[in-house]
């Protein structure tokens, strides 16, 4: 009779090691394996989090190591929550978050639905569509600034072609009204393929026999779409929304390259604002409180959302 892998491993274990292990309980062995990971988690994630919470109650500044650090209670939190500029930043982030997710879900699902149909060149089109998400956000930000350039930018000329407007008569990046949309357009261009891929996975996971049964029951295509396709793709779609929501809540690089938060502060998202407070103004205590507020917001929203996602999955 051939030996099992476990038996072979047991035989290969040197007697001295085997003796030591024999004296350990299963729980102890489990701790030996899990311990390093837990230690790393504590060192890299939990300790900085606790330290940040601690700093958030102080007036600490990382660029003033010699200055006395004072505990100032909830003053940082109070300042942040009563600062109208921070609320404007939150509004800018909410606008960006809502519209990027809405557009990416609609366009991404539509593209996935079309790509899922069998036609010639299907693979080639899939590859072309996913190209933008393979690019670096810094590169995308940089070349879209050229595309948006009012005098020579291709974007303005395309809009001009369709609308008859003078190309240099509007500034996507420089206008207070258009700049928030400029960043939404670029993020949608870049990340719609990601949503499309997730939706495509959902669409391809629907067994054909369900549609065949629906056909036999003489269900219309419209009915099949709303009663089979949408409910079965919904968990995938919700997952895509979760990923994009978390990613866009901390959006930094693309927007910094595109607008730098301007004009004025209309595209200054929370992450850009936080970076300015922490590493340009060096208000470390204040920035820590800011980070904790953002963390609690994202964590809270994500937890509620995950619960909803699980309910949808259970249906």
């Amino acid at each position: 009779m051939s030996e099992t892998t476990i038996e072979r491993a047991a035989k290969a274990t040197p007697p001295s090691v085997a003796r030591k292990i024999r004296g350990l309980s299963d729980r102890a062995i489990a701790w030996i394996f899990v311990g390093p990971s837990i230690f790393l988690l504590l060192a890299i994630n939990i300790f900085p989090l606790i330290w940040t919470i601690n700093l958030s109650f102080t007036n600490f500044r990382a660029n003033r190591p010699n200055r006395e650090v004072e505990y100032i209670g909830l003053r940082n939190y109070e300042r942040i929550l009563t600062d109208s500029d921070i609320w404007l930043t939150m509004q800018a982030t909410a606008h960006f978050l809502f519209w990027t997710i809405a557009l990416q879900v609609v366009i991404g699902f539509t593209l996935a639905y079309l790509i899922n149909k069998k036609f010639k060149g299907n693979d080639l089109w899939t590859t072309i569509i996913v190209l933008p998400m393979m690019l670096s956000p810094a590169v995308v930000g940089n070349f879209w600034t050229f595309l948006y350039q009012p005098q020579i930018g291709l974007f303005n000329y395309i809009v001009s072609f369709f609308t008859g407007l003078e190309p240099s008569s509007f500034e996507m990046i420089g206008s207070v009204a258009l700049a928030p949309w400029a960043i939404v357009i670029v993020d949608t261009w870049m990340w719609t393929p990601f949503v499309m891929l997730i939706c495509l996975a959902g669409l391809r996971s629907i067994p054909d026999y369900i549609y065949e049964a629906a056909e036999i029951d003489r269900a219309s295509k419209w009915r099949q779409f709303w009663t089979i396709t949408v409910p079965m793709v919904l968990p995938f779609l919700m997952l895509a929304v979760l990923f994009r929501g978390i990613e866009n809540f901390k959006m930094f690089d693309l927007v910094v390259q595109l607008t730098g938060g301007g004009p004025g502060s209309v595209t200054e998202l929370t992450s850009i604002n936080l970076k300015r407070e922490a590493f340009e103004k060096w208000r470390t205590g204040y920035a820590s409180a800011y980070a904790i507020i953002l963390f609690v917001t994202v964590f809270g929203l994500a937890s509620i959302y995950v619960k909803a996602l699980n309910k949808v999955k259970e249906r």
Binding site: N59, A62, N63, R64, P65, N66, D85, Q149, P150, Q151, S168, E171, I173, G174, V176, V256, T259, G260, G261, G262, P263, G264, S265, V266, R276, F279, E280, K281, W282, R283
Partner: protein
């Protein structure tokens, strides 16, 4: 045994110290690899060239870390704040001097200057005050003036001299087209050129600073604010800003800068600083542009738009003659373990003949022997303007909290000038609030 080892080490140290004391030249003792940090721009290339002579004379090797301007402050201040040893020498912005001194980033140079016979009286007083001293007005020196600079203007001389353009200007304004003698005249000329067809192309008035991220719009707008007599506080050191920072003159100046931006700059000019200003001018988009004097040698030497095509003028006055200060001093970084060699470089750099070469290569010396030389004014078409500008320069806050103060001003100015939010009065009122809060946090109010 431990005691014996300690005694031996002490003896050895003493012997080494004695060897140094009897005058072994540093070069023979130890040739160091020095790193000098600065911004990446034309004068930095000139300094590389100049420093070759130091390498030959001293035996030390010079390395250079040049950071693009938009990231320069961020990168270098992070380096200093973290006690980094990347830089032995740093040519840091004038506004960093307060933080550099108070946070212990820069080595205090008084004893070294005394020992080497370097006198600050040999340098232009405005540059010593701005680049070297902290607290202001004291005799504590933390840098040697390395690169004098101010914000000036350049223009298309060929267009200004064309008969058809001059006639059109006269017809439109009733005045002769000339180098602007006031801020208002500057605006008038810029508006005249705005969207004007010249040689079959649409041209624009002026390229000005509007950048949001680092210091751009502050450096540009202060050119107008200072010309209207802007002050940061009612009395130096009082931090009393109400009615001064947001006084009627400041409001008028800021409204002027907004009008200049809205009516006389190229489309899409919403986030522009040095590079964009140079690009706009070199591509023939604009008739005039503001920029630092540091770029003027390169512009004058440019085969396309230099020579007879270009000319220069100092920031025009309005209520007073004043320019925004640029430029930097050279400091020894306190975290460097090669401070002796770094000081050697400063001593070498301070020599009058080296300062003369520095000017010849394209650097702006602040040494009196260069500036007061009878031939200096005629040595370059912008030399006279440079001297005039340096006679009336004004700088931003140099407090340790300068970065916060600057970012607050960047936000308020950009919100008003570019994003068209609120009025000039509101923008400056908010700025006073921001600055007051910062000084309160600093314990100064």
């Amino acid at each position: 045994m431990k005691t014996v080892k300690l005694m031996a080490a002490t003896a050895l140290t003493g012997v080494i110290g004695l060897t140094g004391a009897v005058g072994l030249p540093a070069t023979a003792a130890q040739a160091e690899d020095l790193t000098l940090c600065w911004a990446a721009w034309d004068p930095a290339n000139a300094l590389v060239e100049l420093s070759k002579q130091f390498e030959e004379e001293s035996g030390h090797t010079m390395n250079f870390e040049f950071i693009p301007w938009p990231n320069f402050a961020d990168r270098m201040l992070n380096e200093l704040n973290s006690g980094g040893q990347l830089c032995d020498l740093l040519i840091g912005d004038s506004q960093w001097i307060g933080g550099g001194a108070e946070n212990g980033h820069y080595v205090r140079l008084n004893d070294f200057f005394d020992a080497e016979g370097i006198s600050m009286d040999d340098f232009a007083p405005a540059t010593v005050y701005a680049y070297s001293t902290w607290p202001k007005g004291s005799e504590n020196f933390y840098a040697l003036p390395a690169m004098g600079d101010a914000n000036g203007w350049f223009y298309r001389r060929d267009w200004f001299e064309r008969d058809d353009i001059r006639a059109a200007y006269l017809a439109e304004t009733g005045q002769e087209l000339r180098e602007p003698q006031s801020q208002r005249e500057l605006l008038q000329i810029a508006q005249f050129f705005q969207e004007r067809e010249i040689d079959g192309q649409t041209r624009y008035g002026a390229a000005i600073f509007t950048e949001r991220g680092s210091e751009g719009i502050t450096m540009g707008a202060t050119g107008a604010l200072y010309a209207w007599g802007f002050q940061y506080e009612s009395e130096p050191g009082s931090y009393d800003m109400v009615g001064v920072v947001n006084g009627p003159n400041a409001v008028e100046a800021l409204e002027f800068y907004k009008e200049l931006y809205e009516t006389a700059t190229p489309p899409g000019y919403t986030d522009s600083y040095m590079g964009e200003s140079l690009d706009a001018f070199k591509s023939g988009q604009v008739a005039m542009a503001m920029n630092w004097f540091a770029f003027f040698p390169g512009l004058y030497a440019d085969p396309e738009i230099g020579g007879d095509t270009i000319d220069f003028f100092v920031n025009p006055p309005q209520e007073v003659a004043a320019s925004t200060l640029g430029g930097q001093g050279i400091s020894v970084v306190a975290y460097s373990d090669k401070q002796d060699a770094a000081l050697e470089y400063i001593a070498w750099f301070a020599q009058p003949d080296i300062q003369a070469q520095w000017w010849e290569l394209g650097g702006y010396s602040a040494h009196n022997s260069v500036l007061n030389d009878p031939g200096f004014v005629d040595s370059a078409p912008f030399a006279g303007d440079f001297l005039e500008a340096m006679g009336g320069v004004q700088d931003f806050w140099q407090e340790p909290a300068y970065a916060e103060l600057l970012l607050a001003m960047q936000k308020r100015l950009h919100d008003y000038v570019v994003a068209d939010q609120g009025t000039a009065q509101e923008a400056l009122d908010l700025l006073v609030e921001d600055w007051t809060e910062i000084f309160e946090d600093e314990g100064l109010l």
